[in-house]
Assembly symmetry: C2
Homo-oligomer: 192 residues x 2
DNA sequence: GTATCCATGTAACCAGTTACATGATTGC
DNA sequence: GCAATCATGTAACTGGTTACATGGATAC
């Protein structure tokens, strides 16, 4: 059987291009930015970023330069090119592709009657706590952004704020749903 | 380079096992059930279902029998085995694995300042309309379920209802967010 | 002395998608 | 006549994850 080495493409590429419009970055920087700045709606895998960056260099969407600094290992810093900016813009104008929804919690809920209710309650409580944590983080991010003079004057401000607001309301809706579902399940148990 | 044929596993397997606890199904039936019953939180690919079913047969999680019926092509109907039920239960008791969030709409919002606002407005309107449609569908599903005598008496009822309610509230939150974001963006534009 | 952060990179693997092949039947 | 539905299946591909290798610096 043949096994070709095919080019690596898509979403990761555009996420990287977008981040590079904000500032030149190393692969490691990109990963950090994802984890700290946009992880509530976007995630990248470090093992995927490096090969994609290499390919993007071949496609001339980015340029690489090596930066030396005392104490730290050398860094490969990537800068977006004009061609890269055009590629990003082209993608931005394309309609969104919705990847098929797959919510494991909901799948388990759907088949929940096959196990004791305690497992479901545990899952719902876990999910609620997870959402409470992200809600707190999102609220902090909102405060930080709206207190940042430079950010407030940036053209991107209303968009950045919108992404944070999404995170906040998303968490709130999920917390409410967990509470209501926990209440319903308990009621149902009593009624049996 | 070597290219091994590795066994196909995971989430799809458990979704199929769960569906087979409801009734024996062919691959095609499973796909239809996903599309019509649980697509708002779970999706399967028909090209993936067949090989996974074959592998599950090898693992003795399901048994196959061929059903002939006039007019239609023959059907391979799969039934869950005791071993399959145990495998499902084992998974049900395991904590949920959250797959990394990747919301393309939010990613585009984050980099939106690099294109004209009209493209973003278009996307937000599309998203809103999509959510309005799924909201309508979810409300219909809720009504149907609560009017179904047999479903109401099933142990699964509160869980099924919870999944639908999730769909409803999820759509509502997204619609609200789209509206608010559209309003904010317009305000910002006027303020410029 | 141990863990974490900094930093890059590759190979193997995995799960899922797309496209294709096949072919009968039903509805417009 | 054409599209859609019923029905099964495979091969090639894609995109992403995990595990590993390397190694210095810093923090507890």
């Amino acid at each position: 059987m043949e096994c070709k080495n095919v080019p690596i493409i898509n979403k990761t590429k555009y996420a990287i291009l977008g981040i590079l419009t904000l500032m030149p970055c190393s692969g490691y920087d990109i990963k950090k930015f994802c984890d700290k700045g946009i992880s509530c709606f976007w995630n990248e895998n470090i093992g995927h970023i490096y090969p994609v960056l290499k390919q993007m260099e071949n496609e001339e969407l980015v340029t690489k330069r090596t930066e030396q600094s005392e104490g730290n290992p050398p860094k490969n810093v990537y800068t977006i090119t004009q061609k890269g900016k055009e590629e990003l813009e082209k993608w931005m104008k394309l309609p969104i592709e919705h990847s098929p929804e797959r919510l494991e919690l909901l799948l388990k809920m759907f088949f929940a009657k096959s196990v004791s209710v305690q497992y479901i309650i545990k899952e719902l409580e876990n999910e609620k706590n997870r959402c409470l944590k992200t809600l707190e983080e999102s609220l902090k991010a909102e405060e930080e952004l709206s207190n940042n003079e430079r950010a407030r004057n940036d053209l991107g401000y209303p968009y950045w704020l919108a992404t944070i607001k999404y995170g906040i309301e998303n968490s709130r809706f999920k917390i409410k749903w967990c509470d209501e579902t926990l209440a319903n399940i308990s009621n149902y148990k009593k009624g049996e």
